[in-house]
């Protein structure tokens, strides 16, 4: 067995431990800079992962861990997200009273959990990786313990997260009890052989349903979305950003692996369930986002609606749908992180998180105003930005399936209605920036060089993915092939 196959995760964990140890010897005023070191380290791991190709025998630990194209794609995704979130955390560090080094290292630990999730080929590893992510986020969410809202968010996330974990473990127990295995490959083989009769075993399906509850909680799909707005609003902003991108993507990759690798036969039967959940999620997220005045809460609801769009591609259950999900997630990564970086930078002084406090931003900092505008426009799905192509690919994949199942046309209709509704609140943010009246705070926003680079990186990402979609589309298609 080749342990080196886990080199990315192991180095990431070592980096996290190193950051935690470095805290012992660093004088307090220099601890803030540790974030730069951590993100540089993650950058090195990212370069290493870019140089890695899929090994000949992708499995390790008795087929529990797999490093296929899909896993590699998501590992790079999580590493990019971690770098940007760490840089964001450095800018945020003045609002964290104590333990900034622990904040950095917890982000790294959560990222390691996501990397394991990307490679999970076994229900035991799936559960442990998800718990590592979730437990880390309990702490990250309630990190500003001086603020009541942060603690409230932490408690809510803890209670609902523990409940959904309980559901998931219950489901996994049934899956193990009926199929006799944790391994995705073994379960798929049992499902495929008709004499085992697993496809019609209702207890197996019951277990699978409960597993979906747990994953639905991670991606904040209806009806497990209830925590998202409160937690997004209360958590420290870098945590919210990581929750929106990393945690959701970890849920998506596990969902895809379970549905398309472990139980493809059941997925073929359950498309109706996925269609209904997708439609409800899109509608709920978009309609509830309309009256929001708090920008983080708005993004919380918007993230629910994006989970709905992503489920649309999963419900289609085709390779086109799957690669569209990967493309959409990549676009979403840069777009949402751009929005959160701007929130961190602009709302530093005021402390308020109302949309109206963005007023006059174009006078205070044209770069940040442009970044926020582009991010909102991309989230809404206006060409030629990343969000547009993602939605286009998802809808196209659903339309192809629509020839077979009529209800996909309805789902596409609902998705389009959702996009139209979302235009109202996304453009509302843009209006608040440019036409929101006089700024209460006139001084220009001071940007450090790393902060400018972070914003620029997000912007380049959004524009590049939108204008040259081909490289990413090729990468996504190649990654999806590993499911064949």
């Amino acid at each position: 067995m080749n342990v080196l196959i886990l080199k990315h995760e192991i180095t990431l964990l070592l980096l996290a431990l190193g950051v935690m140890l470095a805290d012992l010897w660093l004088p307090p005023e220099r601890k803030r800079g540790l974030g730069y070191l951590a993100s540089a380290g993650v950058g090195a791991i990212l370069i290493c992962s870019l140089l890695t190709s899929v090994p000949e025998s992708p499995f390790a630990f008795r087929q529990m861990y797999v490093l296929d194209g899909m896993a590699l794609f998501f590992k790079r995704f999580f590493l990019v997200a971690t770098i940007l979130v760490l840089l964001m955390a450095v800018e945020f560090s003045d609002r964290i009273q104590a333990g900034i080094s622990e904040y950095y290292s917890l982000i790294l630990f959560a990222s390691a959990g996501m990397m394991f999730a990307a490679s999970a080929n076994d229900f035991a590893l799936l559960f442990v990786a998800l718990e590592l992510i979730t437990v880390t986020f309990y702490v990250l969410v309630s990190f500003q313990r001086g603020r009541a809202t942060s603690l409230e968010a932490g408690v809510k996330y803890l209670i609902i997260g523990a409940l959904s974990s309980a559901f998931m473990v219950f489901g996994i127990a049934f899956i193990f009890g009926t199929s006799g295995s944790f391994n995705f490959g073994d379960i798929a083989a049992k499902l495929a052989s008709p004499e085992a009769g697993l496809v019609n075993n209702k207890l197996f399906l019951f277990g699978l349903l409960f597993l979906l509850v747990g994953l639905g909680f991670k991606i904040a799909a209806v009806p497990f979305q209830i925590w998202a707005p409160d937690v997004y609003q209360g958590a420290p902003t870098p945590t919210t950003a990581f929750l929106a991108v990393g945690s959701k993507a970890a849920g998506m990759v596990l969902l895809m692996r379970v549905l398309f690798v472990a139980v493809p036969e059941v997925t073929a039967q359950w498309w109706k369930l996925l269609v209904v959940i997708s439609a409800l999620t899109i509608l709920y997220g978009n309609l509830c986002a309309l009256p929001q005045t708090n920008i983080k809460r708005l993004l919380g609801y918007s993230s629910i609606s994006h989970a709905g769009y992503l489920l649309l591609g999963i419900a289609a259950a085709t390779t086109a749908g799957q690669s569209a999900v990967l493309y959409y997630l990549s676009g979403y990564l840069f777009t949402v992180l751009a929005a959160f970086v701007v929130i961190v930078l602009v709302l530093r002084d005021t402390g308020a998180e109302e949309i109206s406090s963005l007023a006059g931003l174009h006078q205070r900092s044209p770069l940040l105003a442009a970044a926020m505008t582009i991010s909102m426009v991309s989230l809404a799905g206006i060409p030629p930005l990343a969000g547009f192509f993602g939605k286009l690919l998802l809808i196209k994949s659903a339309l192809v399936v629509g020839a077979e199942h009529q209800s996909f046309y309805w789902l596409v209709g609902i998705a389009v209605v959702g996009v139209v509704i979302s235009l109202a609140y996304y453009l509302g943010v843009v209006r608040a920036i440019y036409w929101g009246g006089e700024a209460a705070e006139k001084s220009a926003v001071t940007l450090s060089l790393p902060a400018t680079l972070t914003v620029a990186a997000c912007l380049v990402g959004i524009l590049f993915i939108g204008i040259y979609p081909n490289p990413l589309m090729k990468a996504a298609e190649a990654a999806v092939l590993s499911f064949k």
Binding site: L13, M20, A60, F61, R62, M64, Y65, Q97, A98, G99, E102, S105, L106, F109, A112, G113, F116, A124, L125, F127, V128, A129, E131, L132, V135, T136, Y138, V139, S142, F143, R145, G146, F176, G177, T178, S179, G180, S181, K190, A196, G197, L198, N201, K202, L203, F204, L205, F206, L209
Partner: protein, 169 residues
């Protein structure tokens, strides 16, 4: 012998369900301490079920860790907090209805799928419960999750220290 096992299973299972109901919906007392005590009984019944499955190590851990350590912690917290208000709190009828409906729905799905399944259908997992077998499994088959759990515990420890430290420095 087989019969005795079956009877014991039913006794433990029924007791576990009854005690679990008493934890959340005790008609005689609203005291959190009573709930906690019933939780101990539930854990004890679960340990009995584990024993019947020849999972002796799990049964012992269930008693030592859950019924012992975790519950003592629970009781400490209950006694340190003033929970008089909790006892007076009225359950809102809307949340009661919502809770009953969702529990009923889950129960309905569960019972229906249980009825639809023939007993013994599906592969029975080959489970070994003795301590040495479990140890071997943890360090061979499940080595990776086992190691990740150690990271998880580290994270939990760091989190607890950070969130409960007295002075924020």
């Amino acid at each position: 012998m087989e019969n005795a096992q079956a009877y014991l299973f039913y006794v433990f299972a029924a007791l576990a369900v009854i005690c679990a109901i008493m934890v959340v919906a005790n008609p005689f007392s609203r005291s959190p301490v009573t709930s906690a005590m019933f939780l101990v009984l539930t854990m004890g019944c679960l340990a009995g079920l584990f024993t019947l499955l020849h999972a002796f190590f799990l049964a012992a851990v269930q008693i030592l860790v859950y019924a012992g350590a975790v519950m003592v912690l629970f009781l400490f917290v209950i006694m340190l907090l003033d929970l008089k208000e909790e006892q007076r709190r009225q359950v809102k009828s809307l949340s009661l209805v919502a809770g009953l409906v969702s529990v009923g729905a889950i129960l309905a799905i569960f019972v229906r799928s249980l009825i639809a399944t023939k007993p013994g259908e599906g592969a029975l997992a080959n489970v070994e419960g003795s301590t040495s077998k479990l140890g071997k499994l943890l360090f061979t088959q499940y080595l990776l999750p086992f190691e990740i759990v150690s990271v998880l515990l580290l994270v939990a420890m760091v989190g607890v220290v950070l969130l409960s430290k007295k002075d924020l420095k």
